[in-house]
Amino acid sequence: MTQIQRRLTQALQGLVIAAAALGGIAQADPQVGKPAPAFSVSDTTGKTWTLKDLAGRTAVLEWTNHDCPFVRKHYGAGNMQALQKEAAGQGVLWLSVISSAPGKQGHVSPAEADALTKSRGAAPTAVLLDETGAMGRAYAARTTPHLYIVGPDGTLSYMGGIDDRATPDPADIPGAKPYVRAALADLAAGRPVAEAVTRPYGCSVKY
């Protein structure tokens, strides 16, 4: 018996080392249906946004990087801007989040970010500059674009891609299944979100 127990202990050690090492990652990953991760990040005007500021409203979080071909696909074709304006029309908040670290692709100053918003005709409620990547890591944002929807009660209601055509080709937008638009419609109608977790696609977030 003692030998079995010793072998058992040895066997478990590896497992538990792994569990402990990964505990942080496993814990950090947000889950749909659970409270959305907290954050505190400044926007381009210097205003600090936290999860509490979203209370009572549906909010879309959009991870973005203006130089990523997949982001250019949706901004170049006007798809992202159209979605932002639809959301605004429904009273939904839209936060674009830039988690590129200083010196990495997509990192911008507040002025550059505002200029991008203007030149692209974008309509986010605010653009958050998450230079440290803290908010991106809290949400486990992996790609640009990567979209999340937080319900009025602070519950994470959607996470994933903007649609189901994982290519950088704008020609794929018209036939794609618009996951985010559908999720917003579900939430507006008080239905559970039909497809609440989808594959995010695009470039990696440049942490």
Partner: protein
Amino acid sequence: MPAHRAIGPVIVSPGCRLERPTLLAALLLLVMLPAALAWGDAEVRTDKVTARLVAERTRVAPGESLDLALVLNLRPGWHTYWRNPGDSGEPPRLVWDLPEGVEVGPMRWPYPSLIRVGPLANYGYSEQAVHPIALSVPADWPVGQALPLRARADWLVCEEHCIPEGGDLDLTLEVVTPADGAQDSGTAAPEIAKARTRLPQDPIAGATLIRTGTGIRLQVPAADLPEGFNSAWFFSDRWGQIDHAAPQPRRLEGGQLRLDLIPGSAPQANLSGLLVVEAGGVTRGYPVEAASAPAGTGVAAADLGLPLALLFALVGGLILNLMPCVFPILAMKALSLAGQGGANRRDRTLHALAYAGGVLTFFALIAALLLGLRAGGQAVGWGFQLQYPPFVALMAYLFLVLGLSLAGAVTLGARVMGLAAAGPTTGVGGAFATGALAALVAAPCTAPFMGAALGYAATLAWPAALAVILCLGLGLALPFVVLSLVPALARRLPRPGPWMDGLKQFLAYPMFATAAWLVWVLSVQVGPPGVAAVLAGMVLLALGLWAWEGARGRSGRQRGLGLGVAWAGVGLALGLGLTLGTGTPGPDAPAVARTTGPAAEPFSAGRLAQALGEGRPVLVNMTAAWCITCLVNERVALERPAVAEALARRGVLYLKGDWTRRDPAITTYLAEFGRNGVPLYVWYPRPDAPQVLPQILTEGGLLAALEGPRGE
């Protein structure tokens, strides 16, 4: 970096570089001089990639099959993607433009490498990606007519940032007679042959997927993997199955390669992908399709071999004979046997076999139920039947009836127990019933003694699992069978006499105690309304049995009235018992966790991982209201002031899991330790050194463990 679509200047092989303005001229050349290009292929050179479509032979015969390949030569530091690109990216795509009748197979995917990008990970290829594609030359393709193959290729190439690129690829093959074709092997042949060695090997069958407290574990039979491999990495086929970037700690144990994985955002019941293994400098990829295994396929379990498990089961079964709930039945049975000293050998053998048959039938039923639920994907453990309130209620009724019968209030139960049987000849059916009854009342008692063997049984294929469980039954049946078959032993038992009545009546009280305990279990499971229902049921049952007794030996209306009352009482009692809510307790908080003693938090895998991540020592106690051993351990060890004080002094997080009702999270945790039942005590002095404490705790032993060195 420019991110526009960069279809590069086209180079017509070999070697003469054409500038963009001359692209048209080059294309014209291609169209006008197909014969001149019959041996060649064209490459597309973009900013980061040189792309070619190649064939292992450029001279082919009609009806022949061969491999083409898309070859992407990448700038150093850049990569393209596997069919599942991982956290970001996009696999390359080909759209063919082929002559009528010519068919090509899908792009094939050599094993990828893991390419880390910050906290993320991609599956892809660096330096060069070669994707073989099967081609069948039509049998009726005219010899001498060139075979043109065209494809539009699009790929995403990334360093840290990404550029979508693409181009139109051409390849023209010369079609010759079979004799001429055989002599040729194109310049791309070695490249394609090398890529083929990197294609998936034969799939490995028998892989399983286990949910553990902190993630998922992939188990792959090591016999099908190369011997002495140095590295192993699992590449998931689809997005969402696993966290692509998470480390994959591995162990080779019990003939299984075990990889611990973290589930992705959209995990599924099954896991499929490619296991890439390096041995002796040779790397190979093996497709793996892992079906979810039931809970119980734990680490320790596999350490216990089948013969040892069978032995444990047999010994455990023997011990069951001494259980307070089983012993009275067997004691009375054995004593009645002593009175049958004169019965002939054949009757005694028949009697013994009937009894053993009853025991084994019941155990086989339990095993079938357990294995059936397991096959249905249910996470159940031994003792699971006690997690269903109606079952507990029926058991409480049963013990009440047995108690009443022993006490002499009714004779119904006595007949089943064989006490009323005048001789062995009338007792064959009775012996069978006694065996089944003994097994029924013994089943809940098995968990504390049989945890290891039953946990092991749950991991086995069904024939072996059935063998272990039947061995347990055999152990239970054995003493009585031996007594029956060896008259010399039976003769050594005390002579029957009036003292037996006293003993019999005394033994009613363990039965009542068991019934009282089961009612308490119900109080935890379903709260006060359930207790009220089952107590009312017990009163009605007793009334019904009394009426039944009264109806005996009477006739006419009195008998009818008696039987009516009896049926009504029994029926109402059963109705009350069977309609108890399944697993919907009054209070939300786990009742067992509410007992006194050191402050405990309810167990959750997340809380455990969090505390271990903080480096905090943790004591995990898995318990259930119906587990007597657990409750004794609480009293004599866990709830002692010295233990509470030791826990507080070391800042130990005390996590208590209540398995009184079904809880898959606890079943999974038990399975990690090769257990299939409670109690289980795990002490983590350090996150990496969990110690499984004995199932029978003492205050001194527990304190010694808690006060011991911080790990070893």
